[in-house]
């Protein structure tokens, strides 16, 4: 799925997920899938911004405004992270 095609969609966390702070890194546990997912700092920030209200574009814009020199990289990171969390059954994309 290309970044452009999901820009206006809203990443929505699915239920039954628990987050734990592991000394500055993060793990998410999905009760439905019975799997644990590792989040590094960047992925954790993206996950936090997935509040069920912001679109993918809005999440990208928030991060790009904070790190204007890395806008291109942020665009790729947001897209890849959201798609990976979808693969893990932790997020779904909804219409705005």
């Amino acid at each position: 799925m290309e970044h452009q095609s999901i820009l206006n969609l809203i990443p929505m966390p699915l239920g039954g997920v628990e987050l734990a702070d592991m000394e500055g890194e993060w793990v998410l546990y999905s009760y439905e899938r019975e799997t644990m997912v590792y989040l590094n700092d960047s992925a954790h920030v993206i996950w936090r911004l997935c509040d069920g209200k912001r679109t993918v574009k809005e999440i990208t814009d928030v991060l790009a405004s904070a790190f204007p020199d890395a806008e291109k990289k942020i665009t790729i990171d947001v897209s890849e992270t959201i798609q990976r969390l979808m693969q893990e059954g932790i997020l779904k994309l909804g219409e705005a």
Binding site: E18, A20, M22, E23, G24, E25, W26, V27, L28, Y29, Y31, E34, T35, M36, V37, Y38, L39, N40, D41, S42, A43, I46, D77, V78, E80, T81, R84, L85, E88
Partner: protein, 315 residues
């Protein structure tokens, strides 16, 4: 038929078996026999005296039939472990080995084929007291664990032969290609032990010795992958696993043969144990073996979600 009660944690199992197996059953299960208790499950081993073949039933359902004596004993070991952990909910049950170093335990979690049983056997041969090579329960009182005592099983395809083990009782309880035997130094089950270190074994034929320190997140991923009773626990064991991972230092050891570990890895473990280092000091010491954290996570789990592709995340 003879009947005994086997116990582990809050589970009880009734095992019935023919007189012909009495001696060997006593050898296999002496360390988990309980004098009393109402069993939650029943296992029945029956013998067809004409064919000298055996069958195993669990709660009235036939699991195996027409098997030879030695195969029956090997299968029975697995069935007993399975029956004792199926409903266990007193902690997080892991597929793991464990040994004692002094008064504290070393946990060796790992799935089939990573070299867990072999490394456990090797450590038991190098002065560590044997607890189990199969199942450990992480208790809510972190970092305490309980071990399900069962004999060591070395399979015919594994990297270690009994001949390499110098201090073992090498007489297998069964004949055939798989060996079942108790190490000479076995710590009987009793009170839970506090866990000093987690070792994740990775045997790879021909590999160079490499020790890597794991961070808490990586450790939690590895422990979760070995959890065998998640559905019995209200939070799937998430709280206990993450608490353990934060508290207990963990390393991954890749090795291609035990000659690499002699005088190196065992010495490191004894140094840690005999120094009576705190968890914090042990974790600090093991940062000597820390590698790129992002890369380590990629190797240890399929469940990586890392937006940072440059591997510059900090732990």
């Amino acid at each position: 038929m003879n009947r005994i009660i086997l116990a582990f944690e809050n589970q009880r199992l009734a095992l019935s078996y023919p007189e012909s197996l009495h001696r060997v059953i006593q050898l296999l299960f002496a360390n988990i026999q309980a004098p009393i208790g109402s069993p939650g499950r029943t296992l029945v081993v029956q013998e067809d005296e004409c064919s000298e073949r055996f069958s195993i039933q669990c709660d009235g359902a036939t699991k195996f039939c027409g098997v030879r004596r030695d195969d029956c004993l090997l299968l029975l070991l697995g069935e007993v472990v399975h029956a004792l952990i199926t409903d266990l909910n007193s902690g997080v049950a892991l597929h793991a080995g464990a040994v004692l170093c002094g008064e504290r335990a070393i946990l060796l979690p790992g799935g089939t084929g990573v070299g867990k049983s072999c490394l456990t056997a090797w450590l038991a041969d190098r002065g560590f007291s044997y607890l189990t090579d199969e199942c450990v329960v992480l208790r809510p009182q972190v970092p305490y664990l309980s071990a399900l005592a069962r004999p060591l099983i070395t399979k015919n395809r594994v990297s270690i032969s009994i001949a390499e083990l110098k201090k073992m009782n090498k007489t297998s309880i069964v004949a055939g290609s798989n060996a079942i035997f108790w190490p000479q130094d076995v710590t009987p089950p009793g009170q839970p032990r506090d866990c000093q270190l987690i070792i994740l074994p990775r045997f790879e034929d021909g590999a160079q010795l490499r020790i890597e320190s794991l961070n808490a997140a990586q450790t939690a991923l590895e422990l979760t992958a070995c959890n065998v009773n998640a559905r019995n626990l209200s939070d799937h064991g998430f709280g206990i696993v993450t608490s353990f991972a934060r508290c207990v230092p963990a390393i991954m050891v890749r090795y291609g043969g035990f000659d690499q570990l002699a005088g190196t890895f065992d010495m490191l473990l004894k140094l840690i144990a005999e120094s009576k280092l705190s968890y914090h000091a042990t974790r600090r010491l093991l940062t000597l073996f820390r590698t790129s954290e992002a890369a380590s996570v990629k190797r240890t789990s399929e469940h990586l979600v890392a937006a940072d592709r440059d591997g510059d995340c900090e732990g």
